[in-house]
Each structure stands twice: as structure tokens, then as C-alpha cells.
Symmetry: C2
Subunit: 677 residues, 2 copies
């Protein structure tokens, strides 16, 4: 499954093809093996598809969706000739299983030549993957839309390639989840990890325990009918849906309806209480409740895996409860960790009785638990390797937290097999099933969640699908930007939502200057948006600030930085690069004057005034530095000192935003001062 | 209903408020009476609504949609305090009728002060209209979102304010129609005229005559269930749905399934045949067919009005059929017009038997028809006045054809009561029910139809709702641009679709330079995109050219032209205006060099090369003109001659597009040459 295959020449092509006559292949994730042929297959109104071998209604629907999507992408209403040979011949040996299994064969082979294309796969699941590759192959050319002649043999490196979406802290409606499923399918991910309950809200209808949503949510939750429909939707796109009910911590929302489950006295209200209440593992009534609850949810969610959370168990309520402490001593346990392990053992039996495999965050790793569980590493890669060594299967999410606002390159560099895992035996390595990106929902709404997930999620998807030696960052960015455009055609709003949000901030004013500012900032990283000193987060507050609208990673800053590198490496002798740099710097220098009237008119922009001033200062500094460089005249030390001071100022977070062009401007300033005439 | 009310000071305010401290009211259509108070009502998380008086599920749903929309617009998740007095109190004396009637009371009164707002109306329909006004009142301010204190008394000038959407030539799916219904409701339109059949396709399921869609469409049509759902959707938003089945001409799609209805021998295929076949009015079997068909459709569409088309009856098949000519002579008719009148009389009886009022295009106006029909003027305003004089009710669409690509101002200037109608007696004037904009579908797809309708349709909506003396064009544009932003928040894609389409043309390349070009062009006007010399239109061809992506009216050209006027009127002494003009001109001058590589790479842009060159030339010419003006030095004649020649060239349509900045650049060139030093 995970044997790295040899990458052919195409990988280099993808990076450098723009400058050559060979087609650039914007494939994400990069297939295991690609051989480029000569010529191309025109995609015109006569395009048609034929399906042979095993097929069922689900695959027929997938082919229809594929044709619709190709039509939307190209704008061509297809009108194939009756009786003509199909342009794309598809063959699957076997159909889909009713419930998608971990490790189900996803491989496929795709051959395109000038007269037609052929997609074959052992299973219909492989056909799904291959169709996404075909969609990415089709590009606009000087003579029309076309797919280049190519032979692709592809299969995933890891069998588990997931995205976690937290729907508790902010509720995310089904239609938003569905378009994200479409996005995941486009980059060949195969698991949606649905974080369905947490302190802030319980999001699944339970017919057995209706007060879970009745008192443990603000009325926003999924009915069982909606869930079944959603699971079918995901299944049709080759994606498993694994539920997570996080226990015994992160469970505040359970207690307004069922206070008897908690370790403290209660009563509880959804929005109050301060403390983080946790479940009481010492009462038999807790397990009776869980028996019924897990049985109901195990029926609702057909996937073989069942995630029980288990992270961040704050022991305060256990410490404060004498009965619980007495229980610990009576059973010869040493501490709260032992108590959680006891709880997990009891829970495991319940989960297993319902024919599910238990998954939990890495805190559940405890010698008392059998090797049948799956350990989900979020606190570091060490625990993943550790678990594998001990015989547990594992998943990696450390390094894949989308909510930390890292650049795609940083996620891309995280490999499940690196670090401690690199020295595992082949047997142990097989236990590493893959990984999951995580979209925790403290700071997202249905409006901006897409932009927090995409396009960066595509880089993680590639890490988990493509061979380990696919690591070229420049190629990844070029291809991620291409897939980003495709995703907007699919209906995701990771780009268009910003436009709406900027318009909201600006009222009816023109947003061109506002967009210039938004283009070069990024949200603060890691957990720097909030600290405990600010008190608890108000999860009901509007998320309508600039930080909520901007992209986690600034394309513009990325491209500007590359331009500056090019210019520096040329010994300041690349006039084309310099002209472009000047164009940007001039825009920024003049932007504050354009933006100023608007900043004063609308309350949502008032905090961004200093940021706008700093951007103008950076523009001016950069332009002066270029002037010194043009004159080959070293900039005076006093000037340099002054500029570096203002650059330092501009590097500080303002309105929880970072000006991402401060560093390349600093490079120009330092270069202008250090040159010798 | 249509008594013009006196407009208060606000109308001037809407135009000039930006420069003052008074709030600018972005209301479209402008209400009949507005009085601005002092202060404003904050809209924050505590916002709530209470409903008293008559209300039913439909109104409750409307209020829910209103709150959702206000929440989306402001980004505020509302969390009203239980028991607190509602921010907005709503009262309707009477509920909705099961089928909305022409002339049903749509009036409302809306009062906003610093502590709350009140909306009252005689009917729930008036409440719907008032809620849309409230949504438009809410704006961002330096202190938060707020609605200004205001007293509005409002009612429509005309009871019939419609939009025709042709779904035959290109099929438009229900979801696209629904979002356009939302847009119509936002500007208080109240009729969707659904042009459901034409030569190119029959779009309604008939259970009695299934071959109408089975052989008369490409498989794209609405089921009766979808139609009922859609009518309910429109009804909930205060919009009547009137079907049109265009007979006896425009009926090619009827004949593949039912060739016996045609006046020529057949057989017929949907995509062939050349001739425009028309219905045979001489056979009794035709009327038997129509009896059954109209009965079925009259049950499906509850509206009291039934549009039978009747336009452009090409008599060629009648002329060519000896039996039909014999019939004409036998019945003492003079010509084909008499035959059509005979047909319409027979049809009228069928329509009336089904308790419907017959509406037809102005060709049906014939002394033989009773005064109960409604005449729909499309060939000129004359026929509207003529019909009213003769005692017929009338609707105006001449001047409101959105597919002719006119600027909003030109539609806005067309008043149903102007021209011949101005001299009608009050009695006769009452027969003019209102009008309809028309979106004929030769050149639209689901992708770009929104941008062909919006925002220009808002100007027509205002013409039909607001008092006759609301005519300030600058104010209309300012408010239309505001409503345009609101409409994107509602889900319309009239702006965002262009972005997608430009990306399709550009592949993965940056589209900034392409957008610069797209910003300043408009499609050729009237019917100049096509003439018969090009042969028949291929309705299956992709609509993916630049002309399909651009807005029918260029905002940028409009603003640039205004800037040039400002600059000229200042005696060339407005440095701020000049700086902005220079910025635009420089961007355009340099744009061709930026765009050139892309133009060569993609087949969809190759035709736009000359256009891009001309834009650069215009930019250069304008900049040179400014240089002469700055130096107060008359430009040499030879230079002027040369520039005017290239401007003439740039004014010619290229790739079916017009460069809309040629005229203001010409002004600059002429000014620079005519100044005296």
C-alpha cells in the first residue's frame, strides 16, 4: 500500500514546464507515476464517456458528476454523437462496498493519447480517484481545451487521509460540509473526521437522549436523517465519515441535559459554569448511559471506526470529588491518568460490543489498553512512533492543524514517517495508517471556514497520498494554486468569501485599497489570537474583523518575497523583477492615503489604521532602498537604522494581523546599506 | 394605486449625502415618501422581531428569512434577550391570499427611531415590501451597524412590475430562477413572466402531451412538481408567476412530438428544419389539442393571467399551404393577420373557460378581440397608448429589454406614462398596469444570466415602483451599486461569475491584467452580436468568450467618464481628478504588455488581442493629452489627427466588444488641442 514508487520525469516537468514546450501538469496530489507522451486529447463538444465492467448507480452518478464538472470547468455543453466511440473509456473490475473499508484498493491507471483516454481500476473507488486526476489534466491551450498525452499509474501512500471538522464550537451546516467533501474528493482524501460534540455544543440528534441537543445546543444540530443523507453523499465521493464524541473531557454540553454524568454537582447551563466539567468514570450509571448512547450512534454511523476523543482531560473535577478520589484509591490506581485508562477500558468494551474499532487522541495511550485501538497523535510525532513500537495503529495530526494559520509549506514538510518514525521497522511503519488535517472551530463560521481549510488542505492531502520523495515546495505551491481555482469552480468559497466580507466592512465604498491591505496580511499564528488573560472566548461574537476575512497565507507576500529573492540573486541587476517590485511598493506606499477615509467610516476597520500606515511606510522604505541600489550608492547608516526600526514596528502583530511583506522589505533595506560602491 | 406622492427632502439627500453628515439612504426602489429623523437605531446582537396582527406560516417564514438575511449582511449572530421588547415590531391587518392578485395592497409604513422600529401594513404583502426596505436601511457606521431614524410611507406606482425570463433558448435551472426571485423581491418586483416554450425547447412537463418535452427538448425541462414548488417559493416572496406558451409562432419545439399541429407537412426535428414552422389555425384538431393543453397548464399555474405570446408570426408556412389560404378566403379574411385574430378569438375562449385572463404581445391587438385581454407592448410605446385608448389593459416591455445590453440609465428613462401615453385620460392611464423587463436567452447560460439581469433590473424596478418624478440618474446609479452588493449577499452571482469565467479563459495565470481589460469593455448593443448573414445561431455553442463574461455596463468606464467631466469642468485644474485619471490611463497604457503572454496562450483570448492593443493606445493618448494640458501648451494638429484616428479605430467593435473609455479619452485629446496658450 505504501511502497514508494519511482517518480518519472514528470515531477521535474511540473516545476519547470512553464518555461518549456512540455505541458505543465497541475496534478494535486502528484500521482505515484506519470509518464508524459506527445500530443494531446482535445476536449470539445463531442466528449463522451463509456463505462464497462462493474458498475452500479453510485458509479453512474459519479460519472455524471464528473461530466457536469468538466462541463462547468470548460464551459462546454457536451453533445456527443450517438454511436461514436467514447472519448474516455472507464473500466472497474469490482464495484463499491456498501461501507467503505480502510485500505480498500484506490489504485487506478489512466492513459491519455491524441485520440482517446482509458481509465481502469480494480475497484470503482479507484475510478473515482482517476476521474479527479482526469479533471485536473484538462487545461486551456492555444487551440482549445485538452488533456495532454500521459500514462499515469497511481495509488495512495497511506490508506487514511482525513480532514477533521469541528462543528461544536461553531455549527457548520450540512451544505457547507458537503462542498468541503467535494473539495476533499478533488484531492483524493478519504476520511471526514466529524468532531460532533465538545463543551460548546452537542450537534447530533439522539433519539434516546434528546436533551443532549435539546439542552446542550443552541438549537443548531444535525437530525439523524440529515446525517444519513450526508454519509451517503460522502460515500458516493469515496469518503468515510468517522464520528467523534469526545469523552470524558470536552463534555460540558452533555451536562445541562444529563448532569448526573458529570463529576461535579451541577446544575449546568450551556453558556455558564466556568469550570470544565468532566464525566464521572466511577459510577455505573455513566456506563449504562454510554451503552445506550454508543449503541445508537454505532447504528447511525456505519464506519468501522469510532473516535472517543479522550484528550485534555482536566482532572480538576476529579480532584475535587472525594468519592472519585476514594474510588481511585480503592482500585489501586496511582492517579487520574489511571482513572482515565480504566474509563477507556470500560468504554472500549462498549465500543467493541458495537463492532467498532476505537480511536482516541494520544492521551489514551496507556499500557492497560489492547493493541486493537488506534492512537491519534496531536501533541507530537513522538507518540505516533511510540504507539507503533508498542503495537498500536496510529494517525498523525500534529503538524496538520489548519487553525494554527501556518503556511502550506510548513504542513507539507511534516511527514508521518519522519522523526522517530523513520527508525521504525517496516512492520512497525505499517501501523502508521496516515493522518488528518484538523479544522478546529474557535474562529470560523460557515462564511469563512472554507478559506481556513483551502487551499492549504491540498498540500496535506498530497503529503498523505503521494510518494515520500515528492517534496518540491515551489512545485507544490504552483499546483496548489491551480487546484485552488478548480475548487472555486466546485462551489467552495475560500476565495469569494473574502470579497463578501471586505464589502461588509466597507459598506458601499470601493474596496480596491482595502483589498491591497488584505492581500499582504496574515492572521497571527498558533494560539496567539487569544490567551487566558482575555477571559473565556465568546463563541457567539461576530467573526467579521479583518483577521476573519483574510487568507491564512498571503499569496501576494509569497510572490513578492520570491521576486525580491530573484532580484537579490541577480546582484540587483534584474530590471524586470525590479520594475515589478517597484509597482508593488508604490501601490503600498500610496495605499494608506486611499484607504484612510474608509478606515474612519466603518467601525470594523478602525483597528486596522496603524497596519495601513505601516504598510505605507514599508512601501516608502523599499522604494528608497531601490533608489540607493539603482545608484549603486550605499544607504547611510542613519537611514538604515531608522528604516529597520520602523520595519521592526511593522513586524509586530496589530489587530491580530501580521504584515507579511516586512521581511522582504527589510532585505532590500539591508542590501541597500551593505553594498559597496 | 398610482397617484404620484410628493417626495420629501430625502431624495436630494440620497444624491448628495456623501458630502454631508446626513445618512445616505441606499433605498432601491426609492419609497414614495421618506422623512429622515435624527439619530439611528443600532443593530447589534440583541436585535429581535415581534409579529402581531394577522400572520401565518408564510409570513413567519418571511420574517425568519429576513432575520437570516440581516444576520448575513451584518455578520452578526443575533442573540436577543428573552422577554426584552422587540427591536422591530411588525403588524399586518390581513394575511396573504392563497393566490396573489394583481393590485393586492402592497403599501406599508416603516418608522425607525433610536430605540426601535415599527412596520405596519394593511396586508402581509406590504410587510414583505417593508422588510426589504428595512434591510436596505441598515448600514455600517463608525460605531456599528445601524438603521437611520426615518419615517417611510410607501406604495407602488404600478401594480404589475415584472421580469420575463426566457428558459427556452437556454435552459435555466430552478435554483438559478430562485435566486433571481430573491433579487426581484429585494427590489419589490412582483411578477415573474416565465417564457416556457419557444422554437428551441419546450420546458414544462405535460402529462397529457408528454412528447412536448420528450421530443421538443434536450431533456432539460421542469417537472410539474418542480413548478409547483417554484410557484410556492415565489409566492412566499410576494411574486406572481405567469406562464407564457408562445403560439402560434415560435413553436418549432411543439412539432417533433406533434407534427399535426404545424402548418407545413413535417416531419420535424428539434435541431433541424430551417423554416420557422407555425401552428395551423384552420384545423379543429389544433383547438382540441389546445383545449386539453391549456386546461392542464391552467391547473398547474394558479395565476389569473395566462400569456399566449402571439408575436412574430411568420406567415410563410401559411402562405405556402393552399388549404390554409383557402380557409382564409372561405372565411372572408383579408390576410394572415385576420387569420391570427381568428386563432386568438378561438384561443381566448379556451383561456377564458379556464378562468384565466389572456395576455399577448402587441401583435394580438385586433379590433375583433374583446377588451378583457391584456396587450403586452414590445415593439414600441405607441401600441401601449393605442391599446389603452381602445379600452385594453396594457403592459410595457419596449425599452426594458435587458438582452440589448443598454446602460441602466437608458432603461431608467423609459416611463410607461411618457410619449403617447402622457396624453391619455386618467381613465385610460389606469389601464396601463405596469411593465416587465425581458431577459431573452439567446446569449445566456445559468452561469452568466445573473449578470445580464442584475443590477440593471433594479433601475427598471424603481421606474415601476417609485413616483414618476424620481428620475435623478446619478442617485439611481449610486443606489443601484449599493443594491448590487446586497444582491451578491443574497446569493446572486452577477459579479462573481465574471471572476470564474475570466479564470477559465486564463487557465492558471494571474487575471489582474485580464480584469483591467474586462473592466472597460461592454458587449455590442442591440442585435449587433448576430446577423442573419452568419446563419442560424448555434444554441448549443459554449458561451465562454470575453463578451459572455463582461458586465453589460462598465462601472469603470462610467466612473472614468465622470472623472474626466469633473476635470474638464474644473478648467483642467483639479489635481485630485487628474491624478486619478493618470492612474487609470497608466494602468491601461501598460496593460497590453502584461496581458500579451496570456493572450497567446489560450484560445479563448486570442480574439481580444487587438482590443488590448487599442486600450494601451488610448492610455498613451490620454496621458500625452494630459501632458499638453499640464504645460498649457496646445497639442499640435498632426498629433491630434493621429490620435483621433486611433480613437476612431478603438471605437469600432472588436470581438463583439466596445471599448467604453474611447469617448472620454477623445475628450481629453480634443481639449488638449483646442486650448489656447
Amino acid at each position: 500500500m505504501r511502497t514508494p514508487l519511482i517518480l518519472t520525469a514528470v515531477f521535474l516537468l511540473a516545476t519547470f514546464a512553464a518555461a518549456q514546450s512540455q505541458p505543465q501538469l497541475n496534478l494535486t496530489p502528484m500521482p505515484a507515476s506519470v509518464q508524459v507522451g506527445s500530443g494531446q486529447l482535445p476536449i470539445n463538444q463531442l466528449f463522451s464517456v463509456a463505462l464497462t465492467g462493474s458498475h452500479d448507480a453510485s458509479l453512474d452518478d459519479e460519472v455524471k458528476r464528473f461530466v457536469t464538472q468538466l462541463s462547468r470547468q470548460t464551459g462546454i455543453p457536451f453533445r456527443p454523437k450517438a454511436g461514436a466511440e467514447a472519448t474516455l473509456q472507464i473500466h472497474a473490475d469490482h464495484g463499491r462496498q456498501a461501507v467503505q473499508k480502510l485500505g480498500e484498493d484506490e489504485s487506478y491507471e489512466l492513459t491519455v493519447n491524441e485520440t482517446g483516454a482509458e481509465l481502469t481500476a480494480p475497484t470503482a473507488l479507484g475510478v473515482l480517484r482517476g476521474l479527479q486526476t482526469f479533471l485536473q489534466l484538462v487545461q486551456i491551450t492555444p487551440t482549445g481545451f485538452a488533456a495532454p498525452a500521459v500514462t499515469i499509474k497511481d495509488q495512495p501512500r497511506f490508506p487514511w487521509r482525513g480532514t477533521l471538522i469541528d462543528v461544536s464550537r461553531h455549527f457548520i451546516p450540512i451544505d457547507v460540509l458537503k462542498r468541503n467533501i467535494d473539495g476533499m474528493a478533488a484531492v483524493k482524501m478519504n476520511v471526514l473526521h466529524w468532531h460532533l460534540s465538545d463543551d460548546q455544543g452537542f450537534r447530533v440528534e439522539s433519539k434516546v437522549f434528546p436533551k443532549l441537543t435539546g439542552m446542550g445546543s443552541d438549537g443548531m444540530f444535525y437530525t439523524q436523517e440529515e446525517i444519513r443523507d450526508f454519509i451517503a453523499y460522502a460515500h458516493d465521493r469515496g469518503i468515510r465519515v468517522m464520528p467523534e464524541f469526545d469523552i470524558p473531557g470536552h463534555t460540558h454540553s452533555w451536562y445541562p441535559g444529563y448532569p448526573e454524568l458529570a463529576s461535579g454537582p451541577g446544575p449546568y447551563t450551556l453558556d455558564g459554569d466556568g469550570l470544565d466539567p468532566i464525566m464521572d468514570p466511577t459510577r455505573e450509571t455513566t456506563y449504562k448511559f454510554l451503552e445506550k448512547f454508543v449503541a445508537e450512534m454505532a447504528r447511525l454511523f456505519p464506519d468501522a471506526y469510532f473516535h472517543i476523543g479522550g484528550d485534555e482531560v482536566d482532572g480538576k473535577q476529579w480532584d475535587a470529588n472525594p468519592q472519585i478520589q476514594a474510588f481511585i484509591h480503592a482500585h489501586g490506581m496511582k492517579n487520574n491518568q489511571d482513572l482515565q485508562a480504566y474509563f477507556n477500558q470500560r468504554l472500549l468494551k462498549i465500543v467493541a460490543k458495537n463492532h467498532k474499532i476505537m480511536v482516541g487522541w494520544d492521551e489514551i495511550l496507556h499500557p492497560d489498553l489492547p493493541k486493537t485501538i488506534v492512537v491519534h497523535s496531536w501533541r507530537g510525532q513522538k507518540s505516533l512512533a511510540e504507539a507503533a513500537k508498542q503495537g498500536y495503529s496510529g494517525l498523525l495530526s500534529f503538524g496538520y492543524y489548519l487553525d494554527l494559520m501556518w503556511p502550506a509549506a510548513r504542513h507539507y514538510a511534516v511527514d508521518p514517517m519522519s522523526g522517530d518514525a523513520a527508525s521504525l521497522t517496516p512492520e512497525e511503519q505499517k501501523r502508521i495508517l496516515g493522518g488528518e488535517s484538523c479544522q478546529w472551530a474557535e474562529w470560523v463560521t460557515p462564511e469563512n471556514i472554507d478559506s481556513h481549510i483551502w487551499p492549504r488542505n491540498a498540500a496535506i492531502a498530497e503529503r498523505l497520498w503521494s510518494p515520500q520523495n515528492v517534496t518540491d515546495v515551489a512545485s507544490m505551491y504552483a499546483r496548489m494554486n491551480a487546484v485552488s481555482l478548480d475548487l472555486e469552480f466546485l462551489g467552495l468559497t475560500h476565495r469569494s468569501a473574502r470579497q463578501h466580507m471586505l464589502h461588509r466592512m466597507a459598506g458601499t465604498a470601493d474596496i480596491a485599497a482595502l483589498r491591497n491591505l488584505a492581500d499582504v496580511v496574515e492572521p497571527v499564528k498558533d494560539y496567539n489570537r487569544w490567551d487566558d488573560a482575555k477571559g473565556p472566548i465568546d463563541f457567539h461574537a461576530p467573526l467579521t474583523r479583518m483577521i476573519d476575512a483574510v487568507y491564512p497565507e498571503s499569496d501576494t507576500a509569497h510572490r513578492f518575497s520570491e521576486l525580491v529573492q530573484t532580484f537579490v540573486q541577480s546582484g540587483y541587476k534584474d530590471p524586470a523583477a525590479e520594475a515589478q517590485i517597484r509597482m508593488w511598493l508604490t501601490t503600498w506606499r500610496d495605499n494608506d492615503a486611499r484607504l484612510r477615509p474608509l478606515l474612519d467610516q466603518t467601525f470594523l476597520l478602525q483597528e486596522d489604521g496603524p497596519l495601513s500606515q505601516d504598510l505605507s511606510a514599508l512601501g516608502a522604505a523599499g522604494l528608497q532602498a531601490l533608489d540607493y541600489l539603482d545608484k549603486a550608492q550605499p544607504a547611510p547608516d542613519s537611514w538604515k537604522t531608522q528604516q529597520l526600526a520602523l520595519i521592526d514596528q511593522a513586524k509586530k502583530p496589530m489587530a491580530d494581523l501580521l504584515l507579511m511583506v516586512a521581511v522582504p522589505v527589510q532585505q532590500l533595506v539591508e542590501a541597500s546599506a551593505s553594498q559597496h560602491n
